[in-house]
Symmetry: C2
Subunit: 195 residues, 2 copies
């Protein structure tokens, strides 16, 4: 199994899991801040993947800014563009960047990543509700007028789900009381993301 | 025909066309700035649609900021949230806001509008390449974990297309020379949006 996976990915699993753990750290920061528990890290790989450096990391900030679009992937895109400035051709940097995210990108993020021309995506748990990298829509491969990119799921899946589950067990305190514990009412069988 | 449409829409066509013309003005500003020629206006409707005021208007700014996600709809969302501040519950304002945009929202924008809980969308020409309000995907009605909203197309369609066509005839000067005139090579039969 591992051998097959090793052939498929451009990175080895030690590297993938290292960065996925950093993404999980971000998801835990989100939980502490009462944000939906999803985190990510964007890493620039160069020199045939021998060199890598973190260029951005973030967690969901929708509640902090009252802006439902501020998912962790969007925050990282904005951070990178702020860092490299408006005259930098974003295609040049994003095609070297790999995303590690604890949950499959949603439809908005999946298409944003396509527009930016991201190199590759590794994610933890699958997003059964609005996953845009294969679960609900396949925006990373469908080539709807933008770039395509490889995307692989299931890395440290249980750990990623666990953080989300803990978040939803407390309830999303930013939702109305009647909506707060809807996951538990659904017999807690679905840990997909909800904002 | 008009009678049927009148029944379908919550606004009368004079109001729709008035704001669509303002959106077209924005698309022309985009052209002047060598941005993809799409513009929009967000209008807050209250008092059973008797009162309306512009809360944001914008055009595509992807080249200005080197950020492929800065479509006019995203710019307006950000402008409104900046104006109302981080403590404002965005659901309260966006459910009163109607979008008028010269071209059907793309997949990213369509889902962003869904996340924000926008009230309604009126657009000019259809986006045959990556339209998210019915042409390629139906993100406004599919209820992929977020809100649904009504969306109607074809308002001042020819005028909206004409502005885009003029933009593409000059060529998107921000693209490489070999990609610049691809629409003309395709016999100019398709005026759908490309970034």
């Amino acid at each position: 199994m591992q051998t097959n996976q090793m052939k498929k990915y451009s990175l080895n699993e030690d590297v993938i899991n290292y960065y996925m753990k950093l993404a999980i750290e971000q998801s835990k920061i989100a939980t502490d801040k009462l944000e939906v528990a999803v985190g990510c890290v964007m890493v620039k790989f160069t020199n045939n993947n021998q060199d890598h450096e973190i260029v951005a990391q973030s967690h969901n900030k929708t509640n902090q800014y009252g802006n439902a679009t501020l998912h962790c992937e969007i925050n990282c895109i904005n951070e990178i563009l702020d860092k490299y400035g408006q005259n930098y051709d974003e295609q040049q940097i994003f095609k070297q960047i790999t995303l590690f995210v604890t949950c499959e990108p949603c439809i908005m993020c999946a298409y944003s990543l396509s527009l930016m021309g991201i190199k590759e995506v590794y994610f933890g748990c699958y997003n059964e509700k609005f996953g845009g990298n294969g679960t609900i829509l396949d925006l990373n491969t469908a080539n709807y007028g933008a770039n395509t990119y490889p995307s692989y799921g299931g890395f440290l899946e249980e750990e990623c789900k666990q953080v989300l589950k803990q978040f939803y067990e407390k309830g999303n305190l930013n939702l109305d009381e009647d909506k707060r514990h809807r996951r538990k009412k659904k017999e807690d069988k679905d840990e997909s993301v909800s904002s």
